[in-house]
Subunit: 143 residues, 2 copies
DNA sequence: CTAATCTCTACAGTGACTGTAGGTTCAAGA
DNA sequence: TCTTGAACCTACAGTCACTGTAGAGATTAG
């Protein structure tokens, strides 16, 4: 208990700045300070930060995480809300996978027709120049 | 020919600001102007912008796209370079799909144990609180 | 000619951090 | 106890790829 911000960072796989950033956003509560003004965290902070980092790794936005944390903090927490957040997110993830799969198909096609040897025709650039391709993902940017 | 920025935007499914942004970055060349100072584009601009938008939809970064455009602009263009950019990107896409699939499995598990009914136990929050879960995607954020 | 629409520049904001500068505090070894 | 070096502090700028805003000027259809 009473660990420094650096220790908290390594314990949770985050960066020091990220923790301060979360504090600034109100996702992490303000911890006690030493006389010199340095942050000292208790065990609970590791749990909370792990929760946040894990949820982030799963692709939840900080806003969604804030909702989940509010639900978790509420003693009479509403499971249905948490469930619907997760459900919503699952749908988004499924959509993203579908988009990436069609993208994979197209990239594979681009790459396969060259298969390592330099040809007079550059398929990659030609494929990208053809703006009728991949119409399904045209207006949705996959990052 | 000689179309306005707004027309170019609708023709290519982009926004006016985005086009000006690309011009600022040097991805789109500076077009001619009317006496009043408004941009007027030629047919070639539609092609180039479509190329950019399409590549963006496929998840290429603007930096990668700049490389591809340079290759395309070069009369003695090097197909191997374009190919390796595409290949590299394909590998990244495959990795992202794998991460999203494991995420989908976990989200499905979270959602399925509640299946619509409110229970005393909130699985979603519990699952996220358990920071040992999903160790494989822990340090990589999927957006 | 007028009114509506479009365009202009310049700048601020988004999300989720990351990096930097310049200074202060802490903990361990001599 | 003193010193030294790592860790910490605040505050702010930068990243990416845009998006939005304000306030002014240009264009076009009726």
């Amino acid at each position: 208990m009473n660990i420094s911000i650096g220790t908290l960072a390594t314990r949770t796989g985050s960066k020091v700045q990220t923790i301060r950033y979360y504090e600034q956003l109100g996702l992490m509560p303000e911890p006690d300070r030493t006389y010199g003004g340095q942050r000292r965290y208790e065990q609970a902070a590791i749990k909370r930060l792990s929760f946040i980092r894990h949820a982030r790794a799963l692709g939840f936005s900080l806003d969604q995480i804030r909702n989940l944390l509010d639900l978790a903090d509420d003693p009479a927490r509403d499971c249905a809300s948490a469930d619907s957040i997760a459900r919503e997110h699952l749908a988004a993830v499924k959509a993203k996978i579908a988009a990436l799969n069609s993208l994979k198909r197209e990239l594979t096609r681009m790459v396969e027709c060259c298969d390592g040897t330099v040809t007079a025709h550059c398929r990659v650039i030609e494929t990208l120049a053809n703006h009728d391709l991949c119409a399904s993902t045209r207006h949705e940017t996959v990052t």
